[in-house]
Structure formats: C-alpha cells, structure tokens
C-alpha cells in the first residue's frame, strides 16, 4: 500500500478559513495596526489641503468591491469634512453614484451632517472614461451642467470658482478597475498636474503601486481593507475595516500554515515516490 499522503479535502480548508474569519469578528482581539508610507502620503495630502478648498472624489466602484473600498472612501471623506473641504463627488462607474449617496446617508446616521450643495455635492455618473476626464480637465462645467438633483452648476455654492480640473486641490479616486484610478493618473496628473490619490482593491494594488514613484504620478495609495484600516487608525475613527483586520490577520495565518503543510506534504510525497520507484 502506497504511503502517499492524499490532498486535504478543500471543504476542510473552507471551514478553517470561515472559522478563522468569523471568530475574530465576534471576539475582538485588537491586534495592532501599523501605518505604511503610502497611506501616510494620502493622509498628508488631505491634512495639508486648506479649509474651503474644492476637492474631487471619484467613485469608480460598485457593490461587488464594497467591503474593501467603501471603508476607504468613508475614512477619507470623514477626514476631508473635518478639514472643512468642499467635496465634489462624481463617478466613472454607474453604481458609484449610489455608493456616494450611501456614504453621506451613513454619515448622517452617525451625526455628521454636512450641508448638501455647500459642503458637498453629487455630480453623478459620466460615461466615456479617459475621454470624459480629458473634457473635465478642459472645462468641468461643460461636462457637468447639473448635479444629480437637477440643480444647475451655477446655483451650487460648493462649485463657485471651479472651472476646470486644475481648480481642485486634489482628486481622490476609489477604484475597482477600468475606468478608474489609472485614467485619473493619465489625465488628471500627467496632463493637468493635479495631485491624484485614492484607494483600490487589494487585487489591483500591485498594478497601480508603480504610479507611486519619484514622479508622484500618485500621491500615496490605499490598498484594500488594510489601507482603509490604516487610514481609520490615523484619523482616530475605527470603522468596519478596523473591525475586519483581526479576521484578516487570522485568515492569513491559516493560509500561511496551510501553504507550509502543503509544501511539507509535497516534498514528503516526492520522497516516497522516489523510494517506491527505487524499490520497483
């Protein structure tokens, strides 16, 4: 009879990961959260922007990536509102409009009540990706003639003095793919020299991180739930990302242990196979 070890039933792996995620969510462990340079750069950008400055926040994601990106957007918006910046929301993804609305509804439930039209405004969705961004860069008011409520741009106090993209102190893109943060870098920063920053899903972070470079194509980046948790830690307002970080760490520990066990099994089976071959 062969001594080869059979692979572990994948359902046991699912169960282990499920328990590893569920328990730390229910029983708070409170593992420390360390901040990284990329997140600090985003924080510094928002922190150093003067009060009353118009800032553009682009919602380029939908509910499928909400657990990762929504906490990032909430944390950055809370920070920008605390600094009394005027938040102009727009979306390159159709569902982004609702994501923005949902965040301000949540803030209202928490007691943070910015005045619509003066402190923030939702300009809605624009199709066309980079082509639309190029048009926004040239003349914001030609692309967005009114907000989602139908109010004309001239009647929106938050937009006073805003003519083109260069009138915004920074652009923050919360992006789950294309069009998203990459297009903002290409057009917003590289064509119009506006500081661009934002947050992405952990899956897309490796492809976007090269833009955080000497040329400052991106001013920092929030990567996945970890980025959101770091930002929540920096502004001192723990949210759903902080709540999820214990679970994230435990799940990673389980994955690391399973990878080590899998590798030990691989080398063990290789040795057994070689011995069985030699015996034949």
């Amino acid at each position: 009879m062969s001594k080869i070890r059979e692979p572990l039933d994948r359902r046991i792996i699912f169960l282990l990961v499920f328990i590893g995620v569920a328990l730390p969510i229910m029983i708070k462990v409170g593992l420390p959260i360390e901040t990284t340079e990329n997140v600090e750069m985003v924080y510094d950008l928002v922190e150093s922007t003067p009060a009353g400055s118009p800032v553009l926040i682009s919602f380029d994601y939908d509910p499928s990536t909400k657990p990762e990106i929504h906490p990032q957007a909430i944390a950055v918006i809370k920070h920008a509102l605390k600094k009394k910046q005027k938040i102009i929301c727009m979306a390159l993804w159709p569902m982004g409009v609702k994501m923005c609305e949902q965040i301000f509804n949540t803030l209202e439930e928490e007691g943070i009540k910015p005045v619509y039209g003066t402190d923030w405004v939702n300009m809605g969705y624009k199709s066309g990706g980079a082509i639309s961004l190029k048009a926004i860069g040239a003349d914001f008011r030609k692309v967005f003639t009114q907000d989602t409520n139908g109010t004309l741009v001239d009647d929106i106090p938050a937009l006073h003095g805003v003519r083109s993209l260069q009138d915004f102190k920074y652009v923050m893109s919360f992006s789950a793919g294309v069009p998203g943060i990459k297009e903002w870098v290409q057009v917003g920063h590289d064509m119009y020299n506006v500081p661009v920053s934002g947050g992405v899903t952990a899956v897309s972070a490796p492809s976007i991180l090269p833009y955080v470079n000497e040329q400052q194509q991106l001013t920092g980046l929030l990567g996945g739930m970890k980025g959101a948790a770091e930002y929540e830690f920096m502004i001192g307002v723990p949210g759903t990302a902080t709540q999820g970080m214990d679970a994230q760490s435990f799940a990673h520990l389980i994955i690391i242990i399973l990878i080590i066990i899998g590798n030990i099994n691989y080398f063990y089976n290789k040795k057994i196979l070689a011995l069985e071959e030699a015996q034949k």
């Binding site: 952990a202 040329q215 679970a247």
Partner: protein, 213 residues
C-alpha cells in the same frame, strides 16, 4: 425604526448568501436558484438603473432644462440609438459609426496617455541615483528597483540568446518576477478574505445583530 421591507431585504440577503455559500460544499439546487435569481435581477435592475441614472440625467434632463446650451447632446443621443440598431439585422450597419468613433477616439487618446504615463513617466521614475536617499533601506529599495526593472526587461528581450552574461541577468529577472507574482498572490488572498469579512459582517451584524461597528 426599521421598516418591514428593510427587515425582509436583510433576511433575503442572508438567505441568498447562504445559498451561494452552499456551493463550497457541492453544487446543489439552492445555489442554482440563487444564481438564476441573481442573473435575472441584475439584468432587470441594470435596465432600470441605466434609464434613471444614465440616460435621463445625462441626456433627457439637460435637453429639457436648457436645450440651447445642451443641443449638441443630440449627436451622442443619435449615435446611441445607432448602437441599438445592432438588434435588427437590416440596420446593423448603422452601429458601425458609433463603434468607429469610440475605437478611434479611445485609440488616439490611449496612445498619448499610455506613452506619457506608462513609458516616459515610468522610465523617468527609474532614472535616479540609488545612493541619494540617506537611509540604507531607501538606498536598498532604489537599487532593487533599478536592478529589477533592468533584469525584468532583459528577460523579455528575445533578440539575444539567454546565455552567458545575458543569461545570468535574465535569470535574476525571473527571480524578480517570481517575487512580484508572490506579492500579487498575497494581495489577491487579502482581497478575497476581505470580501468574506464583508459578508460575515453583514450576517453577524445586520442580520443577527451580534456585532456593532
């Protein structure tokens, strides 16, 4: 006060989550039902959403409120109708005009933006003095960045045989690529776990009320 429909929505969300999760055990009728409901609902929801959040605010309302300032929107409006003509075989040819416009403008802008952002700016960011940092960690990082970029590009240089000195550099390039694949895998694992955390926060918080943010 939570309304009846909110509670119903949370319960439906929880049941659908369990139905989808049941696939992890094995394929079953609950998963199939949830999958079909999702496909049908998505199609219907997107249709209504497109009308109310894309067509109306971007085309109809601007034309109705200020026609003289927005009359040019009629052009993309007509091109959009041309696009829908694909449904009828006799008028399918009309969809070529908006397609040609989209492909042409995207390709033209893409050439400009990618050359500037992904070639020139990225190359410029790599052209640095690696020892100009002070901190040894920064110096090490900058050195690895330059070494990784050069050896990585050499690995994809196919006009010379990967032997001798070129072979060594190409081999180093592979190691850099492997490290980047490992990093990408780590990030992917993190992303998937984050989605599971999101679902469990919904189940344990919104549904069961066991946790509070």
């Amino acid at each position: 006060m939570i309304s009846f429909f909110e509670t119903l929505g949370v319960w439906l969300g929880a049941l659908m989550t369990f139905a989808i999760f049941s696939f992890l055990y094995k394929d079953n009728p609950f998963y199939k039902v949830a999958e079909q409901i999702f496909v049908g609902l998505s199609a219907g929801y997107w249709f209504v959403y497109t009308i109310y959040n894309i067509v109306l605010p971007n085309l109809i309302i601007p034309l109705k409120t200020d026609f003289s300032a927005n009359f040019l929107l009629i052009v993309p409006g007509i091109l959009g109708i041309f696009m829908l003509m694909r449904i009828i075989p006799q008028t399918e040819w009309l969809s070529r005009f908006p397609m040609a416009l989209m492909i042409g403008s995207s390709a033209g802008l893409g050439m400009l933006t990618y050359t500037k952002s992904d070639i020139i700016k990225q190359l410029t960011a790599t052209m640095m003095n690696p020892f100009d940092g002070g901190d040894w960690i920064v110096i090490l990082g900058q050195t690895l960045l330059i070494l990784g970029t050069i050896t990585g590009v050499i690995y994809f240089f196919f006009s010379a045989r990967h032997k001798g000195f070129i072979g060594v550099l190409s081999r180093i390039g592979i190691y850099f690529l492997m490290v980047s694949f490992g990093g990408a895998f780590g990030y992917t694992a993190m992303a998937r776990i984050s989605l599971l955390i999101g679902r469990l926060q919904f189940l344990l918080g919104d549904w069961l009320g066991l946790i509070h943010p």
